[in-house]
């Protein structure tokens, strides 16, 4: 028996919004420590890794490990039927081929339940190598989203260059070029409002705008985004979900094709 109760269904709504354009379907692995999802997009250029810890839920019970193959589009449809403040309960039997999702309003005057068919998905077991990153940049998630959106008007790829002075995002295309430079914030009241850079070694890598824009759909989950970079490894774009867990996106740098 698996059962998880979340006081704000809006959180899961936002999580699905943040992954549904990269993944059509995904396996949610449930265990007593929480819910984990790891999947690559169709093009195998990016990887989504999500972890929701059991202690972040109001109630969490998972008697046996369970892998649920879920069509994300269908799940988004169900999540559209609730309000953000509704209390949500997800339930499945141990060998179930369906998942039950229930919503109740906080005053408990309205209850609704939805049953969704589960899918059998081929599972790739992906081990994410532990990496020491040369640069770790923390910045407001809305600022990052804004930069990605602005620069994608000019070109298909963004060069992210991180030095001890700051981080520079640049692109160029048919109409010209664009550069946005952020320096470390001198003094800030709240940590998540500023830009901070921890750097061992300067890094400069190129990434596809399209993917960065898709990652930015997670901005509503967290006021802060953490970018981790090293030469010759994928970029990590991390959003921490308060008290619940995180979403990390891994993106391979753009490599020029020979032909």
């Amino acid at each position: 028996m698996f059962e998880a109760r979340l006081l704000k269904s809006g959180q899961l709504k936002k999580i699905l919004e943040a992954i549904k354009e990269l993944l059509k379907e995904a396996t949610f692995d449930c265990s007593d420590s929480g819910i984990q999802l790891q999947a690559m997009d169709d093009a195998h250029v990016s990887l989504v890794s999500m972890y929701l810890k059991s202690t972040g839920f109001d109630k969490f019970r998972c008697d046996r490990n369970l892998s649920m193959g879920i069509n994300l589009e269908s799940m988004v449809k169900i999540m559209k039927c609730c309000s953000n403040d509704d209390i949500m309960t997800i339930k499945a039997q141990d060998n179930a081929d369906t998942l039950t999702i229930m919503f109740e309003t906080s005053n408990q005057e309205k209850m609704s339940d939805y049953e969704m068919k589960l899918m059998n998905l081929d599972q790739e077991h992906l081990g994410i190598p532990e990496t020491n990153y040369s640069c770790v940049i923390k910045m407001p998630s809305t600022e990052f989203a804004r930069i990605c959106r602005d620069l994608s008007q000019f070109g298909e790829s963004v060069i992210i260059a991180c030095t001890k002075d700051g981080v520079k995002f640049s692109t160029s295309g048919d109409i010209g070029s664009a550069n946005v430079k952020l320096s470390q914030s001198a003094s800030i009241d709240k940590e998540e409002e500023g830009v901070s850079i921890e750097m061992q070694q300067a890094v400069c890598l190129t990434f596809a705008c399209r993917y960065l824009n898709l990652f930015c759909k997670a901005a509503p989950l967290s006021p802060q985004v953490i970018l981790s970079m090293s030469g010759d490894v994928p970029l990590v774009v991390e959003y921490q979900i308060e008290e619940l867990g995180f979403i990390r996106y891994y993106l391979a740098p753009k490599i020029e094709e020979d032909d």
């Binding site: 081990g127 030469g231 994928p234």
Partner: protein, 307 residues
């Protein structure tokens, strides 16, 4: 409509893949390749062939070499109207397809048809943009003949290294052969330029889920022989034997084919088979094979128990 094809094989391979037996033959023979009639126009192999490109065309040799055995010769896609003056590619008319409904009444197409200028367009397959899902959602598909089990139509090697012998003929993948008509045009320099148009018709039920028009496919040797033998089979008989086929298969391809300047070999690959360097990079990083990650990290990974 049929406005984009894939012809990415060597001339010799087209000759082998269109080999045939005449009625009296006991062994297979290949059509001869003739380039000299159209000397300015050479066939350049590509997976993204668009109108005004030059592709191999199968015809009866009667008009060209004086005897009826089959020949392959490069021609320009899109019939150049005989009355056109100027460059071969600036007549401004869209003549890559001729509609079977008005082929006998058309000023442009009826004349070559009555003259017996019937031809066969050979290609690995053609592209169509699925419009049935509504506006703004056009997705390209590659359409080809059903192949034997395990044969990938986009695998050039399957074609180029396939066996051919006089005894068994062609043992490689099946080409798509489309009925068309061709005509001769005289350029201002006095050169003869041959060009062709693909015959299209209302789709069969199966194909209409992709598009409402379909090119006329010649799916067996009998149809091919009848279409080419203009002495024995009259224009009207030939036209009346063309039917929208149900014997086609297809898969979705990447939108890189949308631009006819993209000649990448990925054009006719199923989307899932396209590998780019970024995805190779990601895969090797995840499997711990990245050459730059230090050994320590790799060992730590191995020690971790996998569920």
């Amino acid at each position: 409509m049929c406005g984009r094809t894939a012809c990415n094989l060597k001339c010799e391979t087209y000759c082998k893949a269109t080999s045939y037996k005449d009625r009296k033959d006991t062994l297979y023979r290949q059509p001869e390749w003739h380039n000299e009639m159209n000397d300015n126009f050479e066939f350049k192999q590509s997976n993204n062939i668009a109108p005004t490109d030059v592709t191999p065309i199968l015809i009866s040799g009667e008009e060209f070499v004086g005897y009826p055995s089959r020949i392959l010769t490069p021609m320009v896609w899109g019939m150049i109207p005989p009355w056109h003056k100027g460059n071969f590619n600036n007549h401004g008319l869209s003549t890559n397809n001729c509609r079977i409904e008005n082929i006998t009444t058309s000023k442009l197409y009826s004349e070559p048809l009555t003259k017996g200028r019937r031809c066969i367009i050979v290609c690995e397959g053609f592209y169509e943009w699925k419009t049935t899902e509504g506006p703004g959602k056009k997705k390209p598909y590659f359409i080809y003949m059903p192949q034997k089990n395990g044969v990938s139509v986009y695998d050039t090697n399957a074609w180029e290294s396939a066996q051919w012998s006089e005894q068994y003929g062609w043992c490689g993948p099946s080409l798509l052969q489309l009925a068309g008509i061709y005509n001769k045009w005289k350029s201002s320099d006095g050169e003869d330029v041959y060009s062709y148009s693909v015959i299209t018709m209302e789709s069969s039920k199966t194909f209409s889920q992709l598009h409402h028009r379909i090119p006329a496919v010649l799916e067996n040797e009998q149809l091919i022989e009848d279409w080419l033998d203009t002495r024995r089979v009259s224009a009207n008989q030939a036209i009346s034997m063309l039917r929208p086929t149900d014997n086609l298969t297809w898969y979705e391809v990447s939108s890189i084919v949308n631009n006819s300047r993209n000649k990448s070999i990925d054009c006719n690959k199923p989307i899932s088979k396209i590998v780019n360097k970024s995805s190779t990079f990601m895969t090797s990083w995840l499997s711990g094979k990245n050459k730059n990650s230090d050994n320590n990290d790799e060992n730590q990974m191995r020690k971790k128990p996998k569920k």
